[in-house]
Symmetry: none
Subunit: 233 residues, 4 copies
């Protein structure tokens, strides 16, 4: 490779760069695919577009993922696990009232999932679950169940400490989770096409939600501080 041919030199450079980036390819493709699947849905995303956004050719995409469906599965797998250990630990160590814990919990979700691209996966799963039952089961095991358990422990703590009324924990979880998941859906579906006057301010929406919720959950003989939906700003 000490050839004097300049083209060969360029080729060598290219090859070097290629080899350096070879391992990065799947990751770049997955990132591009996440973006596009979230933005346009599964059927609406063209394989070539994914490849182009990842800076490779259509052929290369199929070199790493045997089909569009496999790519989709890989995207979901890549993006949904691995955060729960950290979170569980965080909550085990939480010092403070349970209402504050719940506020923190919701805030953390918004900062780490809801406001990031990762929220698109939620929407993705909702939209396409019907067409990928296998993936849906995987999602249930790896994401939904752990999230459920984590929230249940928070609510149980509140009940145990007399901060919350006794409740059916599962439905308590739903009451916390639902609007957040819905917000993720909204952000990535109708919310993107609607006139501004119909759009939701996510942070305000979440604040209203959690306070209303805490008001509803709280054990209060003496209704001291009534949280409310704030008056029109």
């Amino acid at each position: 490779m000490s050839s004097s041919c300049p083209i060969c030199e360029i080729a060598a450079t290219v090859r070097a760069k290629r080899e350096r980036r070879k391992d990065a390819r799947p990751g770049e493709l997955l990132a591009a695919a996440l973006d596009l699947f979230v933005e346009k849905g599964f059927a609406g995303t063209r394989a070539e577009e994914v490849a182009k956004r990842a800076g490779v050719s259509k052929g290369t995409l199929f070199l790493y993922f045997s089909s569009k469906e496999e790519l989709f599965k890989a995207v979901v797998r890549e993006n949904i696990s691995g955060r729960f250990d950290e979170w569980n630990e965080e909550f085990d160590n939480f010092q403070g009232t349970t209402p504050d814990m719940l506020r923190y919990c919701v805030k953390a979700w918004w900062e780490r999932i809801g406001s990031t691209k990762a929220s698109g996966i939620t929407k993705l799963m909702m939209s396409e679950a019907g067409n990928f039952p296998e993936l849906a089961a995987f999602y249930q095991t790896e994401v939904i169940q752990p999230g459920n358990d984590l929230l249940k422990r928070v609510l149980q703590r509140g009940v145990g400490r007399g901060e919350f009324q006794p409740m059916d924990l599962q439905y308590g979880v739903y009451a916390v989770l639902t609007p957040m998941l819905y917000l993720a859906m909204w952000k990535h579906s109708l919310g993107t096409c609607l006139a501004n006057n119909a759009s939701i301010d996510p942070e305000k929406y979440i604040a209203v939600h959690v306070e209303t919720l805490l008001h509803g959950l709280s054990a209060r003989p003496t209704a001291v501080a009534a949280p409310t939906i704030p008056a029109t700003p």
Copy 2:
């Protein structure tokens, strides 16, 4: 039909049968389309499949609906937007407290939309809105806006009568609507693939939701300080 002219009778019968058949077609097609759109999404549903399920040929479908998109709009009109007149009237005539009105409202939604196949349309729009902006705009105009307005009037009534605290009506609407819409989503996406032990009992879910909500909304004598989202602990 006591006519003495047998030809007239036969002709009338013939026409009747034909017209009965012709009149039935759109309904059969709309029912088939609802099923399939909900099951497979808009893009995933083939026109020919709709026709086949309705027991007619591909051509016949286009005899009644000029395009797949028009078929979808007709499905939405048939199942949702066509009913707002009736609902508006119903609520105009409602006698009783506003909390009861809201309970009735949520119950009615569940019985007429949520628990029926029509709830699939909600899920459909969430999933496909990004890919079919024209459909999204249609849905916004024909469904979201009227639904929004109806709920706003209910909440306004409660505030006006001193049953609810003053509030930002738009976010009040969201607080009512969101879990219901989310339930619709759930039913038609992940909910269809999950093990039974993780499934939601919709009626209970809705009941919990509305009571928690009413608790949060209700005007209480000592509404001192509105709690807010605290800073990160």
Copy 3:
């Protein structure tokens, strides 16, 4: 049929009208078909449109003409023959100079064919001949040949009387005919879609044509260089 049933009476009236018009049906269909074929071409004309313009149903059209192609053939047959006898006689009796005869000839063509819907048939044949060889042969025998013969006799008369130079009669015929046929084409094709500034005034066009032609054909005392086919320049 002395029934007292008013519907039966109406039916009887309808039937009578129907029978009265039964023989007229094919003619009405042919007229409608001529209009539409000329206006939109063969492929561009829909069978249902023809039926509607004729005031009958689609089914009836196929009752009289076994296929769209048969309808087309019938239109051409209906509209192209039967005028030549009259014309031949007219010209046999013509008194006057041959240039005047030719002027009259061109004028007559314009008035009876060129300016009427019948000119559309010319365009029709030109456009569709390739797809209907059988029809083309028919047209050749029934229309082109007789027209050719008639014009040849006119030119021959001029040559015989010393009004025109000797010439190749066949090409003389083409020289007369061509611009007229072209005009018919133009009227029914590009002429209908072009900006006004590019449009032709047919009468002026024909006048220019015939006078230029007569100038070229006329025997002149100083017929020094009768225009001939020059060697390739």
Copy 4:
């Protein structure tokens, strides 16, 4: 190519072969399309047929031309409108009398268009203009207008140099053009189906036409009763 690097050479060869193939595709497709459009008309030609005749698949056609209409436009550009620059220049540089120029002009048209398959496009536009207004407008802009302008300049030159009588240039253009266009029509419609004895010898037809025309246009000292193309009214 005297490089010592064998890989470079191979790569170059490969790319060359591939590019040669890719570059050839549009030409092959255009040739096939010209054939078929002329033979069967625009509507009558199936995209797949064009592809098959070019030896490729349906999909490949749409790789190079985004729609059937674009394919047609490309055929027109390739065969006619793309040549006007060359022709305009040719005539700007012409040395000789204007009658000779006109003879050359007609001869050139015959050799480059009339006698080639390209003449079929003229017929095509005549036949299909009514059904495809967009194509007609394209043809008007890209072909008719430039051709018109070119001929007008020729005639104007003759008038300016005293070789032709003053005339209405637009109708002069028609007088030149019409028989040529008609010839193109004839060749591709009825002419293809008629017995030999009725067929036209195009070269002789054109020669007769142009000489008769020049005789009619020419300015002659003793223009006693010279019928002429009248000056603009």
